[in-house]
């Protein structure tokens, strides 16, 4: 029973297809990483799920209902009380003229999570949960008086206020100092373990994805090109793009090895596989026909003719 399902999701911005027929499920109580470079469409996927954009095609199903259709305010509110989002820029996601307390109080009041008399107390509890102590000193502060890590924790507290079941985290650590990142990632892990929250962790950083995520989805040019359990995908990557990413990540643990220099980048192809211009494994078929996502190992799929060819065995 999945927490949230995305099926056939497509989003166009004028002529640009940012997201192309994306489908996946978020398993409850697990962190799923959505990994890709800028321009891969990963942030767009998160924003569609958050109902900030309307999809061009496809659906997001939550609790058995399509969350992307034009719904009544009551239904939208219900959805928003269950699916929340954390943004990339800690300063940009907070209103500069409002206090920390305001940011956390608003969702509490809108969704009537607690009676009015208990709102202040709940704000302090939430601040303590995310490690912002002493809460009575943090609550009246304005965003510019906090550090980047503190701001991001406020954003997390705000998301937690409605007691959601799914949290979409869009590159929550990429604008934070390196030594602060682990703290925020550990907080996510703690929330997953203690509260059974489901996370969609959007990132371009494979290392942090490995650190927090149970499952991994790799996106390229608007499509999912590989998916599976994190360790499995990283130890045995199927799609050539995943392999390329993995070899490009700086890692202290590896020696200075030669990196297979990909051929000069040209525009992605329109017919056939989108990765063909950069792919060391490309065969003739790749230029003619676009591959589909096929399961090559148990629970691991990839979109590649060579490493995950379409199975000829008819599905039973």
């Amino acid at each position: 029973m999945s927490a949230l399902e995305v099926a056939g999701l497509t989003k166009d911005f004028r002529k640009l297809r940012a997201v192309d027929d994306v489908a996946f499920e978020l398993q409850p109580g697990r962190i799923t990483a959505l990994v890709g470079e800028s321009g891969s469409g990963k942030s767009t996927v998160a924003r569609v799920i958050a109902r900030l954009y309307e999809p061009t095609a496809g659906s997001v199903r939550f609790e058995g209902r399509d969350a992307t259709s034009r719904a009544r305010r009551h239904d939208v509110l219900r959805y928003r009380s269950q699916v929340q989002m954390i943004f990339q820029d800690p300063f940009g996601s907070l209103n500069p003229v409002k206090t920390v307390a305001h940011h956390i109080e608003r969702p509490l009041r809108i969704h009537r999570i607690v009676p009015r008399s208990q709102v202040k107390a709940r704000v302090q509890e939430l601040l303590e949960t995310v490690g912002l102590v002493p809460p009575e000193q943090i609550a009246p502060k304005y965003p510019h008086e906090l550090s980047g890590g503190q701001r991001q924790r406020v954003a997390i507290a705000r998301a937690l206020a409605v007691e959601p079941s799914v949290v979409l985290a869009d590159e929550p650590t990429s604008m934070l100092d390196v030594s602060i990142r682990i703290g925020v990632l550990n907080l996510m892990l703690k929330l997953k373990e203690e509260r059974g929250l489901t996370f969609l962790y959007v990132t371009h950083d494979l290392a942090s994805a490995r650190y927090v995520a149970d499952d991994m989805l790799v996106m390229y040019a608007g499509q999912i090109v590989e998916q599976g359990p994190t360790e499995q995908v990283l130890q045995n990557p199927l799609h050539p793009y995943t392999r390329l990413l993995l070899s490009a990540v700086p890692d202290a643990g590896r020696s200075r090895e030669a990196f297979a220099r990909a051929p000069r980048r040209v525009a992605d192809a329109t017919v056939g596989c989108r990765f063909v211009a950069r792919c060391p494994l490309a065969i003739d078929l790749c230029r003619r026909e676009a591959p589909t996502l096929e399961e090559a190992h148990p629970s691991q799929s990839a979109r590649c003719h060579v490493t995950a060819p379409r199975s000829w065995q008819a599905s039973a």
């Binding site: 996601s93 209103n95 500069p96 703290g183």
Partner: protein, 322 residues
Amino acid sequence: MSQLEPTVLELPVAAPPRARTLRRVRVPGWLLLLLRNPKSRTGLLMIGTIVLVALIAPLISVSDPNGFSITAARQAPSWHHLFGTTDQGSDIFSQVVVGARRSLLLGLAAGALATALATVLGITAAYSGGVVDDVVNFLINVFLTIPPIPLLVVVSGYLKARGMGTMILVLAAVLWAFEARILRGQALSLKNRDFIHAAKVSGESTWRIVFGELMPNMISRIAAAFVLVFYIALLTDAGLEFLGLGDQSKTSWGVTLYWAQTNSTVLQGEWWPFLFPGAALALTVLGLVLVLAGIDEVSNPRLRVFRPKRGVLRTLLVGARA
């Protein structure tokens, strides 16, 4: 981890001052800020004085502002006529003091109405986008391209009612579009910031996002729009009177200035019909602009400066930084 987050022991500067009770009067935090900022304090004093003068005008104006007197015409300022007299013999001091009422009221009302229109339409258009934005944009462009004087002439031909109300409406109608465009532009740049998206994801209604999250970030600009409209309203006041929209029997700064200009008084070396009403207008606007500086601090917590509490008298004598 908790004890290593910086705990703040010094006064949080950006928090607004708690409302204080001065002799059983609750003074709100924002007013305190305005009073503590030296610029806005000066501005408030200036405006306060002018408003006070306008209020007690009937008490201090010795002559009828519209009174004729051939013998007293074109007299320079003297003890009898503090600001001199016009070419018709009317006492300019009375005109300025009594005229203050109409001018201030006109500026305030027209400014408020035009700014309110510009704010609501501009921000709503920016945030809603789509058809709403197209419609409002079209309206703005129409109102911007229509030359004001012909518009006023046409309108005055249709309107039966005369007087303040009509003038206020007409002024607001002519002046809202300019500011609406500017406010729309600012709202457009703000609406794609993540905190607006975050408010949406939290479940805030559109109305609350526009007025509760977006607009508070625009207060400085809105206040500045008000001051500009105020100023222009006062200047065009005379033109409207001339077109017959106003009430001929009432006087105002604009009217006084208008007659001073048409009678070529300066050419004859008579500076007083210009200087006094002009100075009144200029000082009022200057006061408003100084208050704007304080409003910046009220609306933007990042600009707030720590000012230790001290008595008003001490501040006046010693200065704020001593």
